[in-house]
Symmetry: C2
Subunit: 523 residues, 2 copies
């Protein structure tokens, strides 16, 4: 068909009555146009307003209560039960962020956030997320976003060098440590050559019970991983820890021996560098020795603490990890990178690929690139992948290795400083060593004539009350754990805005609460 006939035909069809056309005039009064996105002019105006809002937010966040002071159901009660039929002006929506969202948030960007693991977003990371949201790539194949795939390879090679892992390790970005660890254990399972990928584990009398080992202090995600993978909670054997909450390698060796004797199949050990309760560090060199002898996959969970290896004098926390099969480290925890970005390093990318590669026809590429490139979607559950490497690249370049190390070093200094106050204060005690930026402590005023049980119950109650009092102040947010069955307060330093004055203020709030709640015991 000649070109002009074709054009005629196109116009004919386009104007046919059966396919009505929608008018596409620009929107008015700040509402969305009938079709298409917001105009460039409005994007500029509102976008700048959002940037200014964020700058103001960071300046005033310290005046906001760090822990949300709302009741369950309160945010929902302020929102309409039915979906909006027509669009609203952007101004009104942004105003509602102030009115509805901010008061119902716990402010992780507040320098007084010391709960769980305190974490930090940062300006270069936010700019990276902004650009990533505009590009909106789904990095499912190399060709779908070459920069995403290759920037991921480069930044993870940089990170590998920064923490001193050998070149044999390759990295891949997932969303969270739970998912990174899931992939590590799945690769370990694939390495068993038991055709679990092909034949699965149900309806097979030939399969022994598969065993994974982690310490009693390991993160709950390890247990969730074995549940998800169909291995079941029974497959996870929790190894006892020593007085400082570190896995006992002798106990691990005994467990493996027992399991082999019982006909089970040990295949993976998860060691933790920086446990969630206390930041204790498992003796990885001894565990690596054992894994080498027993031919078990060694996965190191360094989700929180791994970042500290960027600091030269703290590099030793990863001693032994160079012999691991895989290691997870979360830049979104302690490398000033907005959530989410978790990194799995492994020397067995081949097994990860064997466990997860599946390329349907509609994703096959046809030219020579097929051979030359790595498509990270073939190394995991998720097919679409956000362009997370961009923010990480911007963070690494803006702060540099030295700048990141300085911040982590300062966080550790603040934690040690905070801990030093407890050492000197009667009526308080530290409950675990402070190798990094987490302090575990409690108030422990003595009282005469109590049984041990009565004392334990009293101290648990007192410390819980102290925690609630501090959190109710809005100036700081602490969380807790249990150590040796004692209610334990945790202070985790990790926010980029946290300074000495913020930890000093927590100490003051703690003392005030203590004196109010236990006037007799007060020092």
């Amino acid at each position: 068909m000649p070109q002009d006939e074709l054009q005629d035909q196109m116009l004919d069809v386009a104007s046919s009555a059966t396919i009505p056309e929608v008018p596409s005039v620009a929107g008015e009064d700040g509402i969305a146009p009938p079709l298409g996105d917001m105009s460039a002019e409005e994007f500029r105006r509102h976008g700048r307003a959002v940037v200014d809002w964020m700058a103001d937010y960071f300046e005033r966040v310290e005046q906001l209560p760090v822990l949300a002071q709302v009741e369950p159901g309160e945010p929902i009660s302020k929102l309409p039960a039915e979906p909006p039929e027509s669009g609203r002006p952007m101004e009104a929506i942004l105003a509602d962020v102030d009115r509805l969202v901010v008061p119902a948030l716990t402010h992780w960007s507040h320098p007084g956030f010391f709960a769980y693991f305190a974490t930090s977003t940062s300006a270069p990371g936010i700019f990276g997320e902004m650009l990533s949201a505009a590009f909106d790539v789904k990095a499912l194949l190399w060709r779908g976003a070459p920069a995403a795939q290759e920037l991921e390879e480069v930044t993870l090679s940089w990170l590998r060098q920064m923490i001193g892992l050998p070149k044999a390790f390759s990295g891949i970005i997932y969303d969270t440590a739970s998912v990174s660890t899931l992939h590590a254990i799945a690769a370990a399972r694939e390495g068993l050559d038991l055709r679990v990928r092909e034949d699965g584990m149900s309806g097979r009398a030939d399969l022994p019970l598969l065993r994974v080992y982690a310490s009693e202090q390991a993160h709950s995600s390890v247990e969730k991983c074995v549940i998800t993978l169909g291995l079941g909670q029974r497959s996870l054997r929790k190894v006892p820890t020593d007085a400082e909450f570190r896995m006992d390698p002798a106990a691990l060796a005994r467990a493996i021996e027992e399991d082999r004797a019982a006909g089970h199949l040990p295949f993976c050990v998860v060691a933790t560098v920086g446990t969630t309760s206390t930041s204790s560090i498992d003796p990885v060199p001894a565990i690596a020795d054992l894994c080498g002898r027993e031919r078990l996959w060694l996965h190191v969970d360094a989700a929180y603490a791994g970042s500290a290896a960027v600091v030269p004098e703290l590099r030793h926390i990863l001693d032994g990890s160079e012999r691991a099969d895989s290691l997870v480290l979360n830049p979104h925890k302690w490398l000033m990178t907005p959530f989410d970005l978790s990194v799995l390093f492994t020397r067995r990318m081949d097994l990860l690929h064997r466990a997860f590669s599946l390329v349907p026809e509609y994703l096959r590429t046809l030219d020579r690139e097929q051979e030359a490139v790595r498509n990270h979607s073939e190394y995991g559950i998720q097919l679409g992948r956000r362009f997370r490497a961009l923010k990480f690249w911007m963070v690494l370049r803006y702060f540099g290795r030295d700048g990141l190390a300085a911040r982590i070093r300062e966080h550790c200094r603040l934690a040690r400083l905070f801990a030093s106050w407890f050492e000197a204060a009667p009526g308080w005690e530290l409950l675990a060593p402070v190798p990094l930026s987490l302090v575990c402590f409690r108030a422990c005023p003595p009282r005469d004539g109590e049984t041990a049980d009565e004392c334990a119950a009293r101290l648990d109650r007192l410390n819980e009350q102290i925690m609630h009092a501090v959190n109710a102040s809005g100036e700081a947010f602490l969380s807790h754990t249990k150590l040796h069955d004692c209610f334990t307060l945790r202070l985790a330093v990790g926010n980029i805005r946290t300074t000495e004055q913020h930890v000093a203020r927590v100490w003051q709030l703690l003392r005030e609460a203590y004196e109010r709640l236990d006037p007799a015991g007060g020092g």
Copy 2:
């Protein structure tokens, strides 16, 4: 200890020589300060520059080649092999986005992006991501981010109403459809009451082979899910489809019957509303009947097409889905929401909770909120969760239901229009119906004296060449699939900026390539 003594002690320790303090003066020349984040003033300046950059990007994206014109390894070769030791000024980093990132991107925000499923970011969604990166919450517990949890419940209730699912469905946000479907199948597995969570599937002679069913046209993620869950590829039975690529319910019934006879245990059927290759829609009402009779979990994969149910005259695509146990829909595909945001609706949140709940002490909350709230981390693998509901809330409010419906309706109109040109043009054919916004087609110039095999090979080659020619133009990006073993071109409309002129241009490019590559066959 009295307050003033305490202060003295704090100061003493703070100034002790063993804990050196790092100077904290403001940075110069646009580089990071020694500690802390970028100053508010600089944040404002650079943030506005990023906003302007994004506005410019959207204005010029059409002038960029939609498919990245780089060779594998080219982006990496332009980046240093070693990590930056010290920080760089933000200006330099942003300049490198232009220099290094943009040329190595495939532009998913380009209106000529028609590959895979075209998707779309939008201004309100980008603003939501910006705010979310500043808040940086990890919505692991309600109290960690009440607004995140409750906005998620509200927006998903809105979405449920918009697509006409009954109130018995609750929603939860995950990152991708792969992960949503993984959770659905895991919940189905939990519903078997076979103690898979507790005891796993290895070392159990008592477990029969568990079976999942999906059509031959189902997304590859279903297979990846059964691999991950330890069910294995063997557990997935692929059901034949009819001439229009829809699951054959009679074949499904036969497969289930055969499996039961062989002692296997059918437990889950995945029906697809909008398959990836052709957007075909499985006969969900008939499949739901069967699942009801056989007591199987019905999961509906409506990741792409489900959004179309927002359009009143397209609501029928979800007929039967109201009887499903779960359904996945990706707002990041066709609801103008930046990647990632996938929604799983299910009437069995209880089973999802039973499959994934695991609350360690350090995440236990202690007050009455425990009873009243839902913590979405107890309903999935991931513990930390991004504040994704914020961008979705902003998108829903800015466009409103009507605005989203108008855009989806327009995309469908463009696809039908594009398809209509093929119906009228000799030498071209449609290879599948066009129920939504995806068109499957090929050039098929006749040639005398060929065997069927020769003809098939010639047409495959020709269409592959046509696709590469169109993609090499930089003006459009198409992908392909195989239908009835024929190389098939796909045009998927889904970007908010795509207009009639863009699909008309593809038709012109296709014709030009065709005439150049097959002058004899040209119409």
